[in-house]
Amino acid sequence: MNKRIFLDPLFKNNPVSVLVLGICSALAVTVKMEPALVMALSVTLVTGFSGLIMSLFRNTVPNRIRIIVQLIVVATLVIVVDQILKAFAYDVSKQLSVFVGLIITNCIIMGRIEAFALGNKPLPAFMDGIGNGLGYGMILVIVSFFRELLGSGTLLGYRIVPQSWYMGNGGFYENNGLMILPPMALIIVGLIIWIFNAGKEWSK
């Protein structure tokens, strides 16, 4: 049972492509793979632990302040993650800048708390949170893979497209500048959704 909770959000109910949650940051931090991975990890941890904590609280939270308590729990977790990043991964935290704070408003987290954690036991809630975080992370990795490879010729900072290929060095290749710019991320996600949906149709 737990395994299904965990695997569901990876493809069948992927938070980004199916449930349309968490789009904002999925697009903004995917210029290179490294920030995308850090973001994915952060969101996964925050979603998992906030699901766990809210599930623990679910029978004791007064109804009137339920949403505020959720916001506070998520905000606190995010602040802790942000402080840790600033201390131990300063370069990446600068690249992520405001988008770490925006994890608080990442619809995936609030969405899963309302839809699942508040009605289930702590362990399944935790698994659901982690699963959704990973589903989100997967999309981030795919988008950033293409954007970094085609836009900068590197992956995780390591050069993939040989320098000698570039026109400046007498070659024929140029990085696709459009990939680094925001609109391309939207188009890539659109294409991913197309592929995922077509895949679902095809497997029927």
């Binding site: 916001l71 704070g101 609109p183 991320a185 659109g190 949906n197």
Partner: protein
């Protein structure tokens, strides 16, 4: 004055919350099926932004930023409460959205019903939180610049959601491949609109 207009124009066009920074996408995608609901939500977003961002600016400037408390007591000049920013901002936003909800329910019940769950969801709309976070990052010089920024951002978001709603209404008549319908094509169109908005880059007043 010139700077204020500059900030406003930048916020509406070249630094449009939707096309340049992808903020507020969830509600942007979900509420853009008809122009009517889209404009209702858009106006609510403008309203919430124009109130919350300046309030958060003042809070940050006079209480949270490093050394801000010096005006209360000189020996507190060393305190740095900026790590509380996220929580304070979101609390202010949640409170103001609650207020807006109550006002809309009394003043425009039709709109209130149309917007449904999306009105309280403005509280977690990344555009609102993003507005405050960007304000914090950019260190505007005074409250007028901040108001100009928040008004511009709101209007930019409003323009974006109404535009995509108008396009989606017309899309109903197009022949789109099934897997691409709905979400997929909306993303791609938004991306193309983003590219178009980039043509505003470099405008200097």
């Amino acid at each position: 004055m010139e700077q204020i207009i500059n900030i406003f124009v930048k916020a509406v066009f070249t630094e449009n919350m939707v096309f340049a920074f992808f903020l507020g996408m969830c509600s942007y995608l979900a509420v853009s099926k008809t122009v009517k609901t889209a404009s209702g939500l858009g106006i609510a977003v403008v309203f919430v932004l124009v109130i919350t961002v300046p309030v958060n600016y003042l809070l940050y400037k006079y209480i949270l930023s490093p050394g801000a408390l010096a005006w209360l007591r000189p020996e507190w000049a060393a305190t740095d409460l900026s790590f509380l920013s996220f929580i304070v901002f979101i609390a202010v936003i949640a409170a103001i959205v609650q207020l807006v909800e109550m006002v809309v329910e009394k003043a425009a019940p039709g709109l209130y019903n149309n917007l449904g769950i999306f009105l309280p969801l403005i509280a977690v709309n990344c555009a609102i939180m993003g507005g405050s976070l960007f304000m914090q990052e950019r260190a505007y010089r005074n409250v007028w610049e901040v108001i100009s920024y928040s008004l511009g951002s709101g209007i930019g978001w409003f323009l974006a959601i109404v535009a995509i709603a108008a396009i989606r209404e017309k899309l109903g008549y197009s022949n789109i491949p099934k897997p691409l319908r709905g979400l997929g094509i909306t993303f791609i169109i938004t991306g193309l609109m983003g590219i178009a908005f980039m043509s505003f880059m470099g405008i200097q007043l």
